[in-house]
């Protein structure tokens, strides 16, 4: 199953990903994404994840697998 990968060296805690994938990501007190569980992407979430990858201003997201 494909999963969402966060490049922490790029992430700046903007939070667009958490907006688009609230099922998978919360935000911590500094704004960085907080995975609620494993970031596996079923069919339902894949499209939203692709939006998130595209929307991240720091290009910090990738879909792997």
């Amino acid at each position: 199953m494909p999963r969402l990968h966060i490049d922490w060296t790029r992430c700046d805690g903007h939070g667009l990903c958490a907006e688009l994938l609230p099922e998978l990501l919360g935000r911590d007190e500094w704004g960085y994404p907080l995975p609620r569980a494993a970031l596996d992407l079923d069919v339902r979430l894949l499209e939203h994840a692709e939006h998130a990858v595209d929307a991240c201003p720091l290009l910090a997201l990738k879909i792997i697998g």
């Binding site: 790029r10 700046d12 805690g13 903007h14 939070g15 667009l16 907006e19 688009l20 500094w30 704004g31 939006h51 929307a55 201003p57 720091l58 290009l59 910090a60």
Partner: protein, 183 residues
């Protein structure tokens, strides 16, 4: 035809003004009630593309219109046009900068965040070029409505850039990482 050319140019300037303001808002990481972070970023992109589309029509109609004396080469080699070469030349420069901006944005996943961000700073060059071009190359720069539009655009961009450059910009409870300390 001249009106189409002129009209699309003015609306394009409005679009780019909106783009710059939304761009600064995106960079700030703040959202507003009723609109999400994603919404702001999306609008920024939409406004930019709308502006680009309008510029394409603007340039095409002017190329086709014999009145304007614009040739294809004038788009790339500035300041040699037959009509108001200085102001039209600035427009050409703005257009070339726009091509770099749009190109690098479409290819951002390939070129990586650092190069993308470096090239995106060209936006702060593109808007003033477009603005001065709009004021100088039109025949209606003296009209009150154009002056009004120009004033609003200038105010909006100046305000946004002022905010961007201010210290308050980064103080929204979210510390930005000084990654240069790592190098």
């Amino acid at each position: 035809m001249w009106f189409v050319g002129r009209g699309t140019g003015i609306v394009a300037l409005l679009m780019f003004t909106l783009t710059v303001v939304l761009g600064v808002l995106t960079r700030s990481g703040r959202s507003a009630p009723g609109i999400t972070l994603f919404g702001i970023a999306d609008l920024h992109r939409t406004a930019a593309l709308a502006g680009t589309g309008l510029v394409a029509v603007h340039v095409t109609t002017l190329l086709v219109d014999p009145f304007s004396q614009l040739r294809l080469v004038d788009l790339v080699v500035p300041f040699h046009a037959g009509y108001r070469p200085l102001w039209v030349g600035l427009g050409a420069l703005a257009l070339d900068t726009l091509v770099v901006l749009v190109g690098s944005s479409l290819l951002r996943h390939r070129i990586g965040p650092r190069l993308f961000r470096a090239l995106h700073w060209a936006a702060y060059a593109m808007w003033p070029l477009a603005f001065v071009h709009a004021l100088g190359s039109g025949t209606d720069a003296a009209t009150w409505w154009l002056r009004g539009i120009a004033a609003i655009c200038a105010l909006a961009v100046t305000g946004a850039v002022w905010w961007r450059a201010s210290e308050r910009f980064h103080l929204h409870g979210r510390p930005t990482l000084d990654r240069r300390a790592a190098r």
